[in-house]
C-alpha cells in the first residue's frame, strides 16, 4: 500500500516537474522532448489508474503522434540547420 | 402521434449534415457537392420545420427527449428538444439553405469548393449537435466540431491574415473547450452524471459547483467572445470568406451563448449568484459600448461588421442581470429570455446579410477600406441597400426584428427597474447608428476615382444577401408567432428558472 502510494507520489511529482520543465525549457526542442517524456510518464499513471485503453491510446497518440507532429513542425519553424541547405 | 413520429427525426438534425459532409468529402467534385448540399439543406429545413410543428403540437412541460441507442441517460446519451433549441435549429436550417445557395456562387473554384462543402456540413452538424445536446460531454465534442470546423473554414480564405486569425481562433477554441471539459469533469466527479437534466436536478450551490460553473463559463465565454475575451473574434470574422463570416457571426457564437443560457439558467442555476449575473451584464454593457466604438474607429468594412458582432453579443448578456432582477416574477425572466431569443434570431439574419453585402463590396472593389468606398451606393445599390437594411435591424430601428428584440429587452429592463441597462441599450443603438451611418455616408458620396475593374458579383448573389436583410425586417412583423414559440415552450426551455429563487 505504501509502495503504491510512493509510486503514485513519484509519478505525480514527476508529471508536475516534467510539465514545468517542458514549459520553462529554453529551447523548443527540449520542450518537445520533455513533453513526450511527460506523455510516457502519463501513460504509466493511466496504467496505475487502471485505464489500460487510455494508456495505449496515450502512448500511441498522445505522446507518440503529437510528439511526432510537434517535431516535424519544429523542423520547419526553428531548426535552421535542417532548412539551410535547401534555401 | 404525428409529433412522436416527427420527434424520431431528431437525430437527423445531426445525421443529415454528417451524411452530407461525407458525401461531399468523398466525391469532391463541385457539382456533386452542390447537388448534395442543396438536397440536404432542404431536407434539413424540412426536418426542422417538422420538429417545430411537433413541438408546437405537444403541450408538455418537460422538454422532449430522445435516447440515442435506447440506453437512456445517464449511461446513454439523450437528445433534448425544447422551444429554444427548436428555434435555434430552425434559424440554422434557414440560414444554411440561404448561405448554401450563396456559397454555390461564391465558391466557383473547384479546389476551394471541395474543401468548403464538407467542412460546411460538418460545422452545421456541430451546431445542430450543440443545440439538441442533452449531455455535458457531448456538448464538448460538439463544441470542438464547431471550433475546429470554423477554424478550417476561415483558413479556406488562404490569406495570411485569415490563417493567422484562424490559428488564434483555434488556440482560443482549444483553451476554451479544455476549460469547459474541466468543468464537466468536476461536475461528473461530484454528481456522477453527465445528463443535463439530471445535473439540473442534482446541483446544489457549493464550492465545487461554483468552480465548475466558473470553468464552464470561462470556456463558453471564450467562445462567445464576451468583452475581455473577444480579442480573437474581429480578425477571424473579418478575414473569413463571406458565407463563413456570416455563419460565424450569425450562429457559431450563438451556439456557445445558447449553451451558456442552458448552464446558467437551467443546469447550474442553483449555483448562480446575482452578483455573477450582474457581472456578466456589466461586461455585456461594456461590450456594447466598446464594440460600437471599435467598429466606428476601424478602417475596414468587414472588421467593422465584426466589431459590431462584439457589440451585439453584449446585448445578449444583458439577459443575465435581467433574469437576476426578476426574482419574484417568472414572467419577467421569461420576457427577458424571449427578448434574447428574438435578439439572437434578428441578429443572425441581419449580421449574415451584412457580411454578405460587405463581402460583395469587397469582391467588387478589391478592398474594403471604408474611406475609399465612395460611390458604392451607385455602383452596387443592392449591396448597400442590404447593408443599410441590416444596419437598421442592428441599430434596432423599427420595423425590424432588431427593433422588436430591443423593444422586448427594454421592456424587461424597465419592468425590472434597471435604468442602467436601458441607457446602455439606447446608447448602443445610437452608437450603432453612428458606425453604420459612417459607412452609408461614404457609400452615398460621389466617386472621384474610376470604377474598379474587378469582376462584378452576380446580382443573384447580392439578392441573396438582400433577402436575408429583408427577412430580418419582416421578422419585425411576425413577432408574435415566434414569440409564442419561444414563450409557450419557454418555461420548459428553462425549467430551472421557476426554481431559481
Amino acid at each position: 500500500m505504501l509502495i503504491e502510494m510512493l509510486i503514485d507520489l513519484t509519478l505525480a511529482c514527476g508529471v508536475v516537474l516534467l510539465s514545468c520543465l517542458s514549459l520553462s525549457a529554453q529551447r523548443v526542442f527540449t520542450a518537445i522532448v520533455l513533453y513526450v517524456s511527460l506523455g510516457l510518464l502519463t501513460t504509466m499513471i493511466w496504467a496505475r489508474l487502471n485505464a489500460w485503453d487510455v494508456a495505449i491510446a496515450e502512448a500511441a497518440i498522445g505522446a507518440g503522434l503529437t510528439g511526432a507532429l510537434l517535431l516535424v513542425a519544429w523542423r520547419r519553424l526553428c531548426d535552421e540547420t535542417a532548412a539551410q541547405p535547401e534555401a | 402521434m404525428i409529433s412522436s413520429l416527427a420527434l424520431s427525426l431528431l437525430p437527423l438534425t445531426v445525421g443529415l449534415p454528417l451524411l452530407a459532409a461525407t458525401v461531399c468529402a468523398m466525391t469532391s467534385a463541385r457539382r456533386w457537392c452542390v447537388g448534395t448540399s442543396v438536397v440536404f439543406s432542404l431536407l434539413q429545413l424540412i426536418t426542422a420545420i417538422m420538429l417545430l410543428l411537433a413541438i408546437q403540437d405537444i403541450d408538455a412541460d418537460e422538454p422532449l427527449r430522445y435516447s440515442l441507442g435506447g440506453w437512456g441517460a445517464p449511461l446513454g446519451i439523450d437528445l433534448v428538444l425544447n422551444g429554444l433549441s427548436t428555434i435555434m435549429l430552425l434559424i440554422t436550417a434557414v440560414l444554411v439553405v440561404i448561405l448554401s445557395i450563396y456559397s454555390i456562387g461564391y465558391f466557383a473554384d473547384n479546389a476551394k469548393a471541395a474543401r468548403f462543402w464538407p467542412l460546411w456540413w460538418l460545422l452545421v452538424a456541430g451546431l445542430n449537435a450543440a443545440f439538441v445536446a442533452g449531455d455535458a460531454f457531448n456538448i464538448y465534442v460538439a463544441l470542438e466540431m464547431i471550433g475546429l470546423g470554423a477554424v478550417a473554414l476561415i483558413a479556406i480564405a488562404g490569406t495570411r491574415t485569415a490563417l493567422m486569425s484562424a490559428l488564434r481562433y483555434a488556440l482560443v477554441g482549444l483553451l476554451g473547450s479544455l476549460c469547459y471539459l474541466f468543468g464537466v469533469a468536476l461536475l461528473y466527479r461530484v454528481y456522477g452524471t453527465l445528463d443535463l437534466v439530471q445535473l439540473a436536478a442534482a446541483t446544489q450551490a457549493g464550492p465545487i459547483t461554483w468552480a465548475s460553473l466558473a470553468l464552464v463559463s470561462v470556456g463558453l465565454l471564450l467562445k462567445t467572445a464576451l468583452l475581455p475575451l473577444h480579442f480573437w473574434l474581429p480578425p477571424a470574422h473579418a478575414s473569413a470568406p463571406p458565407p463563413v463570416s456570416a455563419v460565424l457571426s450569425a450562429l457559431v457564437v450563438k451556439a456557445s451563448f445558447y449553451l451558456l443560457i442552458r448552464f446558467w439558467l437551467e443546469v447550474l442555476a442553483p449555483a448562480t449568484t446575482d452578483f455573477a449575473m450582474n457581472l456578466l451584464g456589466l461586461l455585456g454593457a461594456v461590450a456594447i459600448l466598446w464594440g460600437c466604438i471599435a467598429a466606428f474607429r476601424t478602417q475596414r468594412l468587414k472588421l467593422l461588421v465584426a466589431y459590431s458582432t462584439v457589440a451585439q453579443l453584449g446585448y445578449l448578456f444583458l439577459l443575465f442581470p435581467l433574469v437576476a432582477a426578476s426574482d419574484s416574477s417568472p414572467n419577467l425572466s421569461n420576457m427577458a429570455v424571449t427578448a434574447v431569443v428574438y435578439f439572437i434570431i434578428a441578429h443572425a439574419l441581419a449580421k449574415a446579410a451584412m457580411f454578405l453585402s460587405a463581402g460583395d463590396i469587397q469582391l467588387f472593389n478589391g478592398h474594403d477600406t471604408i474611406d475609399k468606398l465612395q460611390g458604392v451606393a451607385r455602383a452596387q445599390p443592392i449591396a448597400v441597400l442590404t447593408f443599410a437594411i441590416a444596419g437598421v435591424s442592428l441599430i434596432g430601428l423599427p420595423p425590424s426584428g432588431g427593433f422588436i428584440a430591443k423593444w422586448l429587452l427594454l421592456n424587461a429592463a424597465i419592468d425590472s427597474g434597471h435604468w442602467v441597462w436601458v441607457i446602455v441599450m439606447l446608447a448602443g443603438g445610437l452608437l450603432a447608428a453612428v458606425y453604420i451611418g459612417r459607412v452609408l455616408n461614404v457609400a452615398f458620396s460621389q466617386t472621384t476615382a474610376p470604377t474598379p475593374t474587378t469582376t462584378r458579383p452576380r446580382t443573384s448573389m447580392s439578392c441573396i444577401g438582400l433577402s436575408l436583410a429583408l427577412m430580418a425586417v419582416l421578422l419585425g412583423f411576425n413577432a408574435e408567432w415566434i414569440l409564442q414559440l419561444a414563450n409557450g415552450t419557454g418555461e420548459s426551455s428553462v425549467p430551472g428558472m421557476g426554481a431559481l429563487k
Binding site: L23, I45, N50 | Y140, V141, R189
Partner: protein
C-alpha cells in the same frame, strides 16, 4: 481515496500549469504543449474520478479517449496553420531577393 485525491490534485496542478503556459508562452509550439498539458490535467481528473476502489467507471475512460483524439486533431490543425503561415512568410521574404 488518497490516490484519488493525489491524482485529482496533480490534474489540477497540471491544468493550472497548462493555463499559465498557454497564456504566457509566446512560441506556438510551447503554447500547444501547454494546451496538451492542460488536456492531460483534465484527463487525470477524469480518470482519477473513474477509480472507485475495485470498480472502474468506463465512462470517463471513453471520454478521455475521445478527448485525446480531439486534442491531437486540434494540435495537428494548429500546426498545419502555423506551417502554412510560415510558408507564406517565406515566400514573401524570398520575393525581394529574386
Amino acid at each position: 481515496m488518497t490516490q484519488d485525491l493525489l491524482y485529482n490534485a496533480t490534474g489540477i496542478a497540471l491544468f493550472g500549469i497548462g493555463v499559465f503556459g498557454a497564456i504566457v508562452a509566446a512560441h506556438i509550439i510551447r503554447k500547444l504543449i501547454a494546451l496538451n498539458i492542460m488536456g492531460i490535467g483534465v484527463f487525470m481528473v477524469l480518470l482519477a474520478t473513474a477509480r472507485h476502489g475495485e470498480i472502474t467507471d468506463p465512462v470517463p475512460h471513453a471520454m478521455v479517449l475521445t478527448g485525446i483524439v480531439v486534442a491531437v486533431a486540434g494540435t495537428a490543425l494548429c500546426l498545419w496553420l502555423t506551417l502554412r503561415i510560415r510558408l507564406l512568410d517565406d515566400v514573401n521574404e524570398g520575393d525581394p531577393q529574386r
